[in-house]
């Protein structure tokens, strides 16, 4: 065996923002203020986080992303990959995000309304810059529907069909948020991962449900190439970033 290797699980901080404040809810509702986004992102960077995702939690409602100035300021002191999501609705939005210093954009709501937008985005900016963000709820036993506008609206799209499509369109990664787990700290949604895993051939990030380091270790044992996006567990100090690296090899 070769000694050199690339870690497959990335530990990513997910920072949801509303009106310049980091917020956190449960099942994407009941949002509480947590603090200043740049301060919090910088802290996670210093502690050794692999990547950072900023999501504008109310952007899709107002049809615009309001985080460019935060990214612009953050990248002066944060030297790990940065993703921006929420309210991305045009190639101009993507260009603005990348110019402000983001490495990738996460696209959800608008893509469910006009799927070809993902293809156009990939053609213009390359696969590695485009993440398909998928919010989903289990609507009947082992059947999941895609949601939009931070889990507020149904789309009528089956999650398995959607996962196939976003990969066909060339997205570089999938960020999956099972809404029923989001903010609950009860563990990751392994049911949906079991269901979709064999049909995902691009990097997959699971977001929502992590409450302790055991959840990450358990996930890693079963799916060694799935990455995690952490919010509550970092914001409320349930998990120490350095600790994760010691335990996940």
């Amino acid at each position: 065996m070769l000694k050199e290797y690339i870690f497959m699980m990335r530990i990513i901080a997910r920072i949801d923002i509303k009106n310049n404040y980091v917020i956190k809810g449960i099942n994407l509702e009941g949002l509480r203020k947590v603090g200043d986004p740049i301060e919090i992102a910088t802290k996670y960077y210093t502690e050794g986080i692999d990547e950072i995702i900023f999501i504008d939690a109310v952007a899709s409602l107002y049809k615009r992303n309001n985080l460019y100035h935060i990214v612009d300021e953050s990248v002066k002191n944060i030297f790990v990959p940065l993703t921006i999501g929420g309210g991305i609705r045009s190639l101009k939005d993507i260009e603005k995000a990348l110019k402000s210093g983001a490495d990738k954009v996460a696209i959800n709501s608008y893509a469910t309304e006009r799927p070809l937008f993902l293809k156009e985005a990939v053609n213009n900016f390359g696969s590695s810059s485009i993440i398909s963000h998928i919010e989903t709820k289990e609507i009947s036993s082992k059947k999941w529907e895609v949601y939009k506008y931070s889990g507020r609206e149904k789309t009528g799209i089956d999650v398995e069909d959607w996962i196939k499509k976003v990969q066909d369109y060339g997205c570089g990664e999938i960020l999956l948020t099972p809404i029923d787990y989001e903010g609950t700290q009860k563990g990751f949604d392994l049911d949906i991962l079991n269901k979709i895993y064999n049909n995902v051939y691009i990097p997959l990030i699971i977001s929502g449900g992590c409450g302790s380091i055991k959840h990450i270790i358990g996930l890693n044992k079963k799916f060694s190439d799935i990455s995690v996006a952490l919010a509550s567990s970092l914001h409320y100090k349930k998990i120490d970033i350095k600790d994760i690296r010691k335990k996940i090899k």
Binding site: M1, L2, K3, E4, Y5, I6, F7, M8, M9, R10, Y45, G48, D50, V75, K76, N77, F79, V80, P81, L98, K99, S100, G101, A102, D103, F125, G126, S127, S128, S129, G172, E173, V200, Y201, I202, P203, L204, D225, S227
Partner: protein, 204 residues
């Protein structure tokens, strides 16, 4: 103060590269806004496809780069920027690169059913080369990678490092005369990446 240039040909996160060089004490200029040619080092960033990148860079900077290469000015390619230093690439059909280093850019074979693109932090196994012995301190450090294509070199002596992903071993940095290229992103690899850039520039 070393004179640093960042090539802006429309692809890649030039802001992050600018900020990281700024952080370690340099004031880089963008090639598109300056005609000066007395640089110590020229960075070629890049994210996107080889086909698109090779067209854009040759259209704007072919003479500038050829001239700089022949003058012995240090060229540092990052990710797609590294790939463009090679002779040709097979992404979206065969396209000619800058041809400073003999080799081809090929897609990683996926018989192991690995997820592509490779996205993650990995170790870089630098080859023992006398001139670059300072790199040994990075042997156990991690750098950030994001790519689906890799360099396939004609001459193995141009290989500066290897990395591996899920059992597949590939060239992760290249070197030839005044040309260096990294498949990983030092500007996105935290404090270690900054240190790496600093060490590289310092010895010019």
């Amino acid at each position: 103060m070393k004179k640093i240039c960042i090539l802006d040909y429309g692809l890649g996160n030039i802001k992050s590269l600018y900020n990281s060089l700024n952080k370690i004490g340099y004031k880089p200029t963008f090639a598109s806004e300056s005609k000066k040619k007395n640089y110590d080092i020229i960075f070629i960033p890049g994210v996107g496809s080889f086909s698109n990148g090779s067209k854009l860079i040759k259209k704007k900077y072919l003479n500038f780069l050829n001239h700089s290469f022949n003058k012995g000015i240090s060229l540092f390619g990052i990710c797609l920027g590294m790939q463009l230093l090679l002779s040709e690439g097979e992404e979206n059909g065969l396209n000619k690169g800058l041809n400073f280093v003999d080799g081809k850019v090929v897609k990683l074979t996926n018989k192991n059913k690995i997820k592509l693109p490779i996205v993650g932090w990995g170790k870089v196994n630098f080859k023992k080369k006398k001139e670059y012995s300072f790199l040994s301190k990075y042997q156990n450090e991690k750098f950030y990678f994001i790519h689906s294509y890799v360099a396939s070199l004609k001459d193995k002596k141009n290989e500066l490092s290897k990395s591996s992903y899920n059992g597949i071993s590939y060239t992760s940095a290249i070197i030839k005369k005044n040309c260096v290229g990294t498949q990983f992103h030092p500007e996105k690899s935290g404090e270690v990446g900054l240190e790496f850039l600093k060490d590289w520039i310092k010895r010019l």
